[in-house]
Symmetry: C2
Subunit: 442 residues, 2 copies
Amino acid sequence: MKLVVIGGVAAGMSAASKAKRIIRDLDVTVFERSNYVSYGACGLPYFVQGLVPKAEDLVARTPEQFRKQGINPFLRHEVVEIDHENRFVLVEDLENHKRFKAQYDKLVIATGASAVRPRLPGVDLPGVHVVKQVEDGIAIRNTLKQGAKRAVIVGGGYIGLEMSEALRERGLDVTVVELMDRLVPRMDNMLSEEALETLQRHGVNVMTGTRVQGIEGDERVLRVVTDAGSIDCDIVILAIGVRPNTKLAQSIGVKVGPTGAIEVGADMQTSVQDVYAAGDNTQSMNLLTGKPVYLPLGDIANKHGKTAGIALTGKPAEFKGVVATAIAKVFDRALATTGMTEAEAKEAGFDVGTVSIKSSNQAHYIPGKAPFKVKLCWNRADGRLLGAQVAGAGNDALRIDAIAALLHMKGTIQDLRGLDMAYAPPFSPVWDPVLVAANVAK
Amino acid sequence: MKLVVIGGVAAGMSAASKAKRIIRDLDVTVFERSNYVSYGACGLPYFVQGLVPKAEDLVARTPEQFRKQGINPFLRHEVVEIDHENRFVLVEDLENHKRFKAQYDKLVIATGASAVRPRLPGVDLPGVHVVKQVEDGIAIRNTLKQGAKRAVIVGGGYIGLEMSEALRERGLDVTVVELMDRLVPRMDNMLSEEALETLQRHGVNVMTGTRVQGIEGDERVLRVVTDAGSIDCDIVILAIGVRPNTKLAQSIGVKVGPTGAIEVGADMQTSVQDVYAAGDNTQSMNLLTGKPVYLPLGDIANKHGKTAGIALTGKPAEFKGVVATAIAKVFDRALATTGMTEAEAKEAGFDVGTVSIKSSNQAHYIPGKAPFKVKLCWNRADGRLLGAQVAGAGNDALRIDAIAALLHMKGTIQDLRGLDMAYAPPFSPVWDPVLVAANVAK
């Protein structure tokens, strides 16, 4: 059996590896447009910051390691066409522009997502970057090496926040410009406020409710023009989101869902037989709403890929879905969310109860304690938990996973209140902040 | 209405506070034998270590603060007798040995537990300590001030481990002597091994399978005699467990359960009408086994006390029980457990599936990552999770709470496998270690 995988990052390489481990003599070919396979794109801010010294460090497994496993990854090779009727892909070698065909029995489309580059004047000026691929990280480091001192980050989502930390830690003046009236606008207000306070405390200039109108420069970027004035800068990071790469899939009739990403079954098979999709080009099922959701996150891409890799071999496999758990480090704070935000829950028609509390992450007498905040949302009608956000100082925010587990199990605020959570003075106050919130919710 | 509370630490003061907040004109009197109320006994190792500078720092709320709230705590006052028929307690003022009566309508018995002092020759020598009350911590600090350089800790449970860290960090030579063949013998083997490796890596001498036969000295302790030879020392810490203080309760016919601790309903009322029990003298319901369990832990004592405080006012309140979650810091490692150990699950008659994995607590490319270990136990018949242990480097071990949540909800290994956990490179590998374990369990 021949397997072709389009895209060799998290989802694609997971699918390839898993399938090959199940069918030892599977003929697996992976085509990857970039110079890297199997890299952790989520690590790019830390590469830019310098915490991760070399681009190669982001790579989980090298092409050589895959080859030893019997998987053939072609770098700098782009699939330009799929002929599904005849089961082959047309591949272009981006080095010499030669094209060739590759046959398949099963196809995994893991084409990922592309960073949105808004159609703004000056958006293609040198010094204007996105953060998606390893090459983007290298390009940003090169701009920094050329002496960039003032950065403008367009977009105050997770990537924007992580990049603001990375550049601030490298000593740059950093301004974050966000169109909406608060940071991380997809997250709950509580996390927006925490993000704002954290950025400002670390000397980052934050402009919310501000529209970027253009980017100006000559040989290089010189300033960002907004409706609140111009900001001089040497480097611009565009972090306004990503769009799923679905064109290739759609060209053979693969259905795209209401999220704009590829629609799949629990086995990651698309609407077209023998064609699987996985990763940042593919939507997931939101287990709380029963509706599809687009969450381009590394851990989900891996789960997609693994499931596709098993399912395409004929073995049973399913990825049931997500409750939308996420976490981000922003300087000395960790922001985490699971389930619906208050706004989302209201929009979904629930009579939403909410509570927000501020506690700390250790017993009061242990030095070095930090604030820990919890917000809970539940359905007043039956107490069912709908979502939660926490803000802590690091791994303490992994408490979000306990609430995520309850969301998976359709737990209530009463269930949360009764939870037997781990306590020792270095790790928690005697009343865990999550339990404090659940008690106040009474 | 008059409320008398016997014992003013975690459970007693929680009950008193909660009841007073509900019934504003409640007459609340608390009798506490020691010099302190409302202190965090779990913080004693950190007080001994010096991280917590003053004994007073361990106190959550002072007697003055309680008085402002309208609660009257009598320090150094011991209830020596209860006349439940006539609804009064006989109290001795330990300072002047005067006795007086105090009337009550409702009684909360929160007499806690006492550290076990084995009947060994020399056990009362100066320099031999237990770790239970603030006064014990002060006594240990006094012995250290007198120049103690070599410590023997008898007992390799959580307190023994925490004390070994405290004394080692103060520069002492430390030997831990444990009767059983492994450390933390009530915990799973995996945590025993982790504890042993951690103690040895930090220069602590560990002697398992070793019986203490006596303690020798003249004016002060000089050595501990074991069946594996004598160990010279200047200080001995007895950390071989605690026993619930139930004598007073039993004197009025309060029933004690099979654990040796006081039996209560979900409202914390004992077998005697109007008499409540809470804290380290009281057993809890194990939600997994449906059997009572004795867990003298600070967070549980607080929950007991709060529930008793509400219930005695006539309002509905229940403490359903525990799944037995616990965590301990041991030097640079955190050991956490929830549910049953493998041995306990087998003893309970389950056909136990287990898996143990070693991963790390961050993405591979983030500097400073530490090993993260997970062990899972489940029932092979239906996949139901029975328990888990994790070992991490700090708050990362709070992942145990996600598994605790699943245990509460009767989740399966399949549920765990599908969990949408928080991922970002500084906080987790892209496959959370817990999910890795659940996947291997397939």
